[in-house]
Subunit: 371 residues, 3 copies
Amino acid sequence: MALTREENEELTQVERGTPGGELLRRYWHPIAVAAELTPERPKKRVRLLGEDLVIYRHPEGGFGLVREQCLHRGASLYYGFLEDGGIRGPYHGWLCDKTGRCLEQPFEPEQSMLKHAIRLPAYPVEKVRGLLFAYLGPLPAPVIPPWDVFAREDGTHQIEIHPVLNCNWLQMQETNLDPTHNTYLHNKTAYVLGLRSDWKFRPISLDFEVIEWGVMKRRTFGGDAGYKEEGHPAIFPNVLRHSSGSGPIDLHFRVPIDDTHTRTFWLGFDPSPDGSVVEEADDPPYEYIELKDEEGYFHMRSFSSQDSMAWETQGPVRDRSVEHLATGDKGVALWRQLLKENIEKVKRGEDPMGVIRDPHKYQIISFSASK
Amino acid sequence: MALTREENEELTQVERGTPGGELLRRYWHPIAVAAELTPERPKKRVRLLGEDLVIYRHPEGGFGLVREQCLHRGASLYYGFLEDGGIRGPYHGWLCDKTGRCLEQPFEPEQSMLKHAIRLPAYPVEKVRGLLFAYLGPLPAPVIPPWDVFAREDGTHQIEIHPVLNCNWLQMQETNLDPTHNTYLHNKTAYVLGLRSDWKFRPISLDFEVIEWGVMKRRTFGGDAGYKEEGHPAIFPNVLRHSSGSGPIDLHFRVPIDDTHTRTFWLGFDPSPDGSVVEEADDPPYEYIELKDEEGYFHMRSFSSQDSMAWETQGPVRDRSVEHLATGDKGVALWRQLLKENIEKVKRGEDPMGVIRDPHKYQIISFSASK
Amino acid sequence: MALTREENEELTQVERGTPGGELLRRYWHPIAVAAELTPERPKKRVRLLGEDLVIYRHPEGGFGLVREQCLHRGASLYYGFLEDGGIRGPYHGWLCDKTGRCLEQPFEPEQSMLKHAIRLPAYPVEKVRGLLFAYLGPLPAPVIPPWDVFAREDGTHQIEIHPVLNCNWLQMQETNLDPTHNTYLHNKTAYVLGLRSDWKFRPISLDFEVIEWGVMKRRTFGGDAGYKEEGHPAIFPNVLRHSSGSGPIDLHFRVPIDDTHTRTFWLGFDPSPDGSVVEEADDPPYEYIELKDEEGYFHMRSFSSQDSMAWETQGPVRDRSVEHLATGDKGVALWRQLLKENIEKVKRGEDPMGVIRDPHKYQIISFSASK
């Protein structure tokens, strides 16, 4: 069940032109929080799928996302000027709009054709619930799926920005297909640290169902307090939808920065008790999360710290040729299979799983009744 | 007399499967101080011969040393649980004992044969005078030699833990075969820094004798105060035994962390003036040594700082194809020859120099009368 | 007009034996400030053209510049002893003079020929206006050109030491052939930061003339306040001569540390108002310049910070195969052409541009009347 090194590379690489990188380029990914872009500091250097970019809020309105290095001689557009409908290079003043068209080259002759022959890599960016999403794939871009967490107005939203982890995105997402990890990683750890009063091992049987958007998980807990639980769907290719009964629902985006670095953006939705619509600010509150202690060890006092430990200590890119998958890993194996199938789809020029083209097809995407 | 690049690699590489690494894997090496493993913090991440490991003190007694990455999906066992006779993975709870056998896989069917088919890399660890020694080679492990510093009870012991140096172990050990370095590196430096009141050059003639455990050194100082001195044997392959007349004796272990990092563990023995047996605590006192100043330069105010300067500034792995060995380096050349011969022995499946198999053969290994 | 990767390598590499490195080794480069070498701390580790060196002020007078690693077993001569006409190794006391000859090997037999057969890499060093210049090429060394900034006595001198930038020297020097960068990088940036009260775009036409020492630049500003300006010659291969009318003149040396690191040494000359000779201290005042803010971003509040941003953000070695040179870059293209021609000259064994052999040929090298 272990992967060959070649299979592992295909599933984990994120750079443009790699099979995995091309798959990931068919989806929108959050890369910044809109509120981080202020009038005083409207630009931010970001890195996504191995590409160095600058995202900006234009004083004339809207957001832009372009390659950091300018078209001309490569100085950083982070130090550029936002004006005249675009971003102007800080070195010689070439102006490009947010689609990457070069509008002006101040020191070129007026009749020069050069500016029509070149184009700055630039990408669509959309704001949803205070998060800025980017799409780095071939145009036209698909629709950002109207997940219920995005669409619902009967509650409040919050954002968490997690630290960059020094590991590949897939070892993060695999945990989302692996419901048994709760028993030890979260519950036993919390018990040992005195954060919960008891802990008991209960056998679990697992069931996975491939749905339109990814995989739905079902657990049956054995033992004296046996019960069934459905939920926490893994959304293809790199998102977890987490919820607890009628309470909050959150989306955890595992955003690949490059092959060996990933950041979680977390968007939470907290329904109002009575189902009433809540007036929210345009930008939900956001906070930066800490995962480690002063010595650089994971503090293990939160689910996020515990998960991050399990992810990062596997190494920059987990070598899946030496692992020993077991019965409890069948969700992991299923996800890898879905990745392979969808990489093949992209190679054939087809849309992979969950890509939506018709903006009117869905008003809202909810999940099962229980969750 | 300079080495080719290939010869240099063979003598300096420490990874599993390399000729030098296989030679070093026939010996026990200190890797931690037992007193560092407390009930509050009973685990420690260590690195030896290029392998990332976790050493632990089990609450049920004894010490374990295992690969840091768990067998299953590779999370760090540093965050695991010490219980039920072994260490349990923090991610999914697989339990392995200190020999590496997998005892439990909580979410696997009872009849699963998987746990019998796999084994966590695990290594013997022994405590001697407060130091934890590890053996990473083929079993059965040889005997830890009963050096007099280990065995003697007529005095007290102390431990020093030196900082990791960014250099290969061999350039550290070579100094131990090089008695002329005292004149300038230690004595002249101390004189220039005002730490000793005089300094005078005296010619030295050198003599080296291969003994069962390594090489015995003899110096004859010329000039008006000429005298002979024997001592400071170099113990094969990476230890210095240092003594001064009837006073303290110390063992300096140059422990290879990987090809380009080495740490000295130092065990000192201070004989009681009247030769009486001294009641000692189970764990001798230990201290961490500083070698550099705030700017990152070697402070040069101790023998250890002076030696470490000479080692680390040669670079991560000294290129011995460009050096100019001279008459004074004949001990260095002899040691390289011993390394080559013993690498060949290991290749032939024989035990190299100084490996002891019979635990009854030696009660104590002392050195010459004078030392 | 973009370069191939091979062309780019040839122009940017600085190591010994590379075409670019051999060209740069035909010129003197400043590497330290003499006043930094005090009696208490007379040695300094420096790196130039990819070579690790130690520069020292000898207590008996004069300066020396030698390879950091000693001839014998490679310990750092930074920790050596300055005595008996040279620098003595800290490890075994081999003594070399400032030409690299080995004068003593204390533990070798007197009749040994070894010391005559070996030589420590050592280079000429000369002090000019408080700056220490080194020459790393084939002997005999050429003359240090008597630039007016060096030779003039009718004013005062100052030195600036800039931080090491993580980029190749050529992307720094290219700016010196690129007069249009002032409009945006310096003037508009200052305007946006509130450091100047107005800013207006004016078209510029450029003219470049190859002179004996490099390239003279001429700009004609169009628009309502049109005027002509000549000046700021680029001195081959890596120096800018900057001046403003009758005021200060400065030389900006872009000193290659290695392929991806460069430091600017800056020597300024401020003429006395009445042209009278000024008595100066032997060592001009010097200061260390800051380019970045606490977050690690360029603060952009000085010309140096602005230029450094444009240089360093191009990356460690700018990939010139992806750039889009335009009309305004004709000076840049001209400089690359000069580099290629002079690399070829060096390959043929000829002196490249601006190398002076006859110390009597020039008393002072001034530039055009206007500058």
